[in-house]
């Protein structure tokens, strides 16, 4: 009954596995030629759990958390690339279209200003996109640091629970709920980082998938973070294990921080650098509106060498629309050089692709990464749910079952009570036997 009430009380406790009382008949005693039972002995209270399933759940949790952490970030990233009628793609189209509109009347200052305005919008949108990727990256970086703190807190809890378990086991008692607590902690840890749990003679060893020991018996080893190259690296002692972590939200976050965002940023940088360089070069081939006309100067600031940070640094340095070199021969009416500027739209500026192709490819890539991750996360959710169902069928507390046990115990109690009262009556009769005769 104690077990039942404990089960019922813990119906909704996360990680609790139902317990059953393990009872055996008492050793019989020999009375002459008879062997008489001595009732029931409560051996121990046993928690019902399937260790194999537990391992599978931990693994599924690691994969699931990793995918979901990536997905959340990717969904945030892709909002920047969501529109086909605004943003960098539309800005590129509008810029080249503004050059086109200048060509019938190349000396018109309003149309020239239109080109510079379109260029400024383009540069600003490159800046904004690069900036918000950078902001997101530093947010993810902070998440990584917080996750490491949580990992450390969990591993120290696991170690201290492990100590208590060993203490109980040393006096041959079932640690029951303590193991539940520990399993629950390991599952929480699995949501953060991929770990392997190895049972040893003295408690358990928890190690990351690359073999870094986090918990060994009652001893836990904290991970630290160390700034390197603008982001926090995860250190086990003096070893940098950042890139070797797999599974858990930590791996998902690191994947976003160190692979996805830098990849997208670098594509934007290449595109920004390619556009700036080629348009500046095209402008330098022609003449501006000045009297006497001079060769065109830079429209955009010269991108940084190698293009790193070009999207953030992209600015329109030309402020006077008359400096745009539309003319190929120095006359104000010539639009010959606009053809050279427009031709940049068809030049391979980034990754061997034209500006708009490079951008649309990037959008397609961001979209398919997100949609693949989303599909993987859905599948992994389903697997995890399935496993948890299975685990529930082994370890979950069923109120019906507990109620039926209770009824059983109640009847058994009533029967036992009846036996006692009958024996009591018989005994009373036996005791009173002489009395009655004496009275008579």
């Amino acid at each position: 009954m104690e077990t039942t009430s404990n089960n019922v009380a813990n119906t909704n406790t996360p990680g609790y596995t139902r317990e059953v009382a393990d009872v055996t008949p008492g050793d019989p005693v020999e009375i002459g030629s008879l062997s008489v039972g001595t009732g029931v002995v409560l051996q121990k209270i046993q928690s019902l759990r399937d260790p194999m399933l537990q391992i599978q759940i931990n693994q599924a949790t690691q994969q699931n958390s990793s995918l979901n952490a990536s997905l959340t970030q990717l969904q945030q990233i892709q909002t920047q690339f969501a529109s086909d009628t605004s943003g960098i793609g539309a800005d590129i189209s509008n810029f080249f279209s503004s050059l086109q509109q200048l060509s019938p009347d190349p000396s018109d200052l309003t149309l020239r200003q239109g080109v510079l305005t379109a260029a400024t919008t383009l540069a600003t949108d490159f800046n904004n996109a690069a900036q918000s990727l950078q902001t997101q990256r530093s947010n993810v970086d902070q998440n990584v640091v917080q996750s490491v703190t949580q990992v450390n807190s969990l591993t120290s809890q696991i170690a201290s629970v492990d100590q208590q378990i060993s203490n109980l086991q040393s006096i041959d008692q079932d640690p029951g709920t303590l193991v539940d607590t520990q399993n629950n902690l390991i599952q929480q840890l699995s949501a953060l980082v991929g770990v392997q749990v190895i049972p040893t003679g003295q408690g358990i060893t928890v190690a990351t998938s690359n073999g870094t020991t986090l918990v060994s018996g009652s001893q836990s080893y904290a991970l630290t973070t160390q700034a390197d190259d603008g982001v926090q690296h995860i250190m086990a002692g003096t070893e940098d294990i950042t890139s070797s972590l797999t599974g858990g939200s930590l791996a998902g976050l690191i994947q976003i921080r160190d692979q996805e965002i830098p990849g997208i940023s670098s594509s934007l940088d290449q595109l920004a650098a390619g556009l700036s360089t080629n348009l500046n070069a095209a402008n330098a081939q022609g003449f501006d509106l000045e009297n006497p006309p001079v060769k065109g100067g830079n429209i955009f600031a010269t991108p940084p060498a190698g293009g790193v940070g070009a999207a953030t640094a992209m600015t329109v340095t030309m402020t006077d629309p008359s400096l745009l070199a539309a003319s190929s021969d120095g006359t104000t009416g010539s639009n010959g050089n606009l053809a050279n500027l427009s031709a940049v739209a068809d030049q391979a500026v980034a990754n061997g692709q034209t500006p708009i192709d490079a951008y649309s490819t990037l959008v397609g890539q961001v979209g398919s990464t997100t949609s693949n991750t989303s599909a993987d996360a859905d599948a992994s959710n389903a697997i995890l749910q399935q496993l948890q169902d299975q685990n529930g069928s082994v370890s979950g507390v069923s109120l019906d079952e507990e109620a039926s046990n209770l009824i059983q115990y109640q009847s058994a109690y009533q029967a036992a009570a009846r036996v006692v009262s009958t024996v009591n009556l018989l005994l009373l009769d036996a005791v009173n036997l002489g009395m009655d005769e004496a009275e008579e």
Binding site: T11, L74, Q75, Q78, F81, A82, D84, G89, A90, I92, S93, N94, F96, S97, Q100, Q101, S103, P104, D105, S107, D108, S327, D329, T331, T332, G333, S334, N335, G336, A339, S342, I356, S360, T361, V363, G364, Q365, V366, G367, S368, T370, S371, S374, N381, Q385, D389, Q390, N391, G392, S393, V394, G396, V397, S398, L399, D400, E401, A403, S404, I407
Partner: protein, 295 residues
């Protein structure tokens, strides 16, 4: 087999799923788009950007065309006016060549011819939106300056460059003809012909030859009008093509990224039904277990 006694996580997941479907259907209906994020359909998202690029270019071409058409029609009507003026000069020349006019009448005709000459100079210096359209690409200065010391009476200070404007992908047309190829083309120099005629009338010698020269120059100029006519025709047919292309692009945009409203509405009502079913299941759950029957 023992079943999982706690179906709540499954039910919550189902509820979550139906709510997600509801949201997606609602988003499609409210935006009219099936591709609201690149992940909704990555290929379509990339194609939509290319599509928008072409649409932007096409509307740019259409704007260029309307700007170009203004210039072309101004140039064309200016050439017609010059031709008309030359016809007037011709009939005056023929009148003078008759040999029956008095000296004062001859002088009056010469005066009239000088008037026509300066009219043609001013026509050749026509501007469109502030630009001299017969100056080649030196559009900021008047291409013809009167200079009586020169045989044709004017000095061409424009250049011989021609501007081309794209009116379609890889489709360019010339939008100007320099005056040096229209009014002062070697062999068909309008100004030389008219100047010679004036002198012939003034001196009353060789008027016939001079008239013939004016006639030849006038025919040459009429022939050049065809260039503008052709260009105008090209812009008109390109406008028709571009408008059709724009229509096709917007249809494509709809096919790629537009929401199927009927399907979205069906999905929404389906998701709502599912959602209510999940809610009903959750609310019914846990009302009953064996404990309820224990007294």
């Amino acid at each position: 087999m023992r079943v999982n006694p706690n179906p709540m996580p499954d039910l919550m997941a189902a509820l979550n799923q139906t709510e997600l479907e509801e949201q997606q259907a609602e988003l499609q209906i409210s935006t009219g788009k099936s591709v609201n994020e690149p992940s909704d359909n990555p290929t379509a998202a990339a194609l939509l950007i290319e599509n928008n690029d072409q649409a932007t270019f096409n509307s740019g071409y259409l704007q260029s065309i309307s700007a170009v058409q203004g210039q072309l029609s101004t140039a064309s009507s200016t050439l017609s006016s010059v031709t008309t003026a030359l016809q007037q000069a011709l009939s005056l020349g023929v009148e003078a060549a008759g040999g029956t006019l008095s000296a004062s009448n001859q002088a009056a005709i010469a005066n009239q011819l000088q008037g026509i000459q300066s009219q043609i100079v001013s026509l050749a210096n026509t501007t469109y939106e502030g630009n001299y359209i017969f100056a080649g690409t030196k559009t900021s200065t008047a291409p013809y300056v009167v200079d009586s010391n020169l045989p044709d009476g004017v000095d061409y200070v424009g250049n011989t460059d021609v501007n081309e404007v794209s009116i379609g992908n890889g489709y360019k047309i010339a939008v100007n003809q320099p005056g040096s190829q229209l009014f002062s083309a070697p062999g068909n120099d309008v100004f030389l012909a008219i100047n010679n005629l004036i002198q012939a009338v003034q001196t009353n010698t060789g008027i016939g030859t001079a008239v013939n020269a004016v006639s030849a120059a006038s025919s040459y100029l009429s022939a050049q009008t065809v260039l503008y006519g052709n260009a105008t025709d090209q812009t008109q047919s390109e406008t028709t093509y571009l408008n059709a292309a724009q229509l096709q692009i917007s249809q494509q945009q709809n096919t790629l990224g537009g929401a199927n409203m009927a399907a979205a509405a069906t999905n929404l009502s389906q998701a709502q039904t599912d959602n209510q079913a999940a809610l009903a299941a959750i609310s019914k759950l846990a009302q009953d277990n064996l404990f309820s029957y224990l007294t």
